[in-house]
């Protein structure tokens, strides 16, 4: 089971607590993972990626396995540890401000 941790504001928006769990087939990528999150929680469309261009919003980051994957290609395969659920995929609201 793929595990996704959303930032608190998006958990509130989607009316969920704790981790999101996804069951996906095929090669796991940022795009397929985010598509699945948005399909399950449609109110999140546009909050992580632009509604039209699908480009990551500037102050949203994607972390996994201790790495910042925000600048990776959305179609690059995600680490095996994410695909098998050993590690969660973290969607982060970037630290900004004082």
């Amino acid at each position: 089971m793929i595990r996704v941790i959303l930032p608190p504001n998006l958990r509130t928006l989607a009316h969920i607590e704790g981790e999101v769990e996804l069951q996906l087939n095929g090669t796991l990528t940022q795009r397929s993972l985010l598509d699945a999150v948005e399909a399950k929680y449609p109110m999140l469309r546009g909050t992580m990626r632009d509604q039209v261009t699908q480009v990551r919003r500037p102050m949203v980051r994607f972390f996994a396995c201790g790495e910042d994957l925000s600048h990776e290609s959305p179609d690059a395969p995600l680490p095996h540890a994410i695909a098998n659920g050993a590690e969660p995929f973290l969607i982060i609201g970037a630290i900004a401000g004082g």
């Binding site: 930032p7 608190p8 504001n9 998006l10 509130t12 928006l13 598509d35 948005e38 399909a39 449609p42 109110m43 469309r45 546009g46 909050t47 992580m48 509604q51 039209v52 919003r57 102050m59 949203v60 609201g93 970037a94 900004a96």
Partner: protein, 394 residues
Amino acid sequence: MSNVRVLVGTRKGAFILTSDGARKRWKVSGPHFAGWEIYHIKGSPVNPDRIYASQTSAWFGQIIQRSDDGGKTWNTPGSSPEELQSSDGMPKAESNKFVYDASPETGKPITTHQWYDGTQHPWEFKRVWHLEPSLYDPDHVYAGVEDAAIFESKDGGKSWQELAGLRGSDTGPKWQPGAGGMCLHTILLDPKDPQRIYIAISAAGAFRTEDGGKTWKPINRGLHSQYIPDPNAEVGHCVHRIAMHPSRPNTLFMQKHWDVMRSDDAGGSWHEVSGNLPSDFGFPIDVHAHEPETIYVVPIKSDSEHYPPSGRLRVYRSRTGGNDWEALTKGLPQRNCYVNVLRDAMSVDSLEPCGIYFGTTGGQVYASVDAGDKWKSIVRDLPAVLSVEVQTVQ
């Protein structure tokens, strides 16, 4: 007996204050949408239980929220399971999709505007500043957005289409952002003419349509702004707010960056009515519910000192449609007060006597139940207040 519902948008959520018609005891609910900026929250005049809210975040973008039960529960329009089925299997979920119209069919799309350095800059959607529900249909609502444009939804906020004729008017490339961004913050619907709408943009000015939003013309003649190269230019004026009494839709009142202005010909020409105000800088302006010549402003010291002159929070009332102003101070802090009152943070109820309400960047919401003679803080220590709207409900 009528009740009053005050809808308060703040930097960190929405609050709903309710009272009976006496307006003495208030119940506070919230924060709704905790942690998000609520730029505006406003109910439909046709169905007061239908309320729209603009929920935004620099991190996560724009969300439109809708309540159909007077603010008890909320949803993102179109997000129920049965509404989400589309042919490709992906949810539509387009209630937060604001895309500028670049089609050749609808007007003359403008793709750039003036930027701070004098170059042209593409329009980029940032947020919804103002939601104005239709006077006739609770599913029809207008949205004023940054970068400045007007959108409408005819399906209760599920989807949005730009009224592109506004940006497509000849002046679009001359518009430029003010310090708060290039926002369309005021939408006034003429109750006597469904085809006429007024809007205002910082920093472009005021505009009017006579055909329901297809075509627009600037209505800024008489405005004088020293901060632009031609003080009398057709556009470029930093209009902060416009107000209108529904019984007299040809008479408009304006709080500009500096100057309080008045028009008696639907914006065709303006003249200054600042009169004896201690400062004619400010943000909100509003009109008494039953007296079309009684208007209210909150003078602010200057464009860099966004607080009341002398640290005294004073609402000024004119019973003569401007020029002659009286300070209203009873119940308002008269020393060491350095809050601001933002452009959408004042509203009136329709009870008798008329209630006046405003919120501050210090988190207080003040109310007067006698048209401004005396004031009382009905809630305090909220996050900075961005908007205040009032509903009179049964």
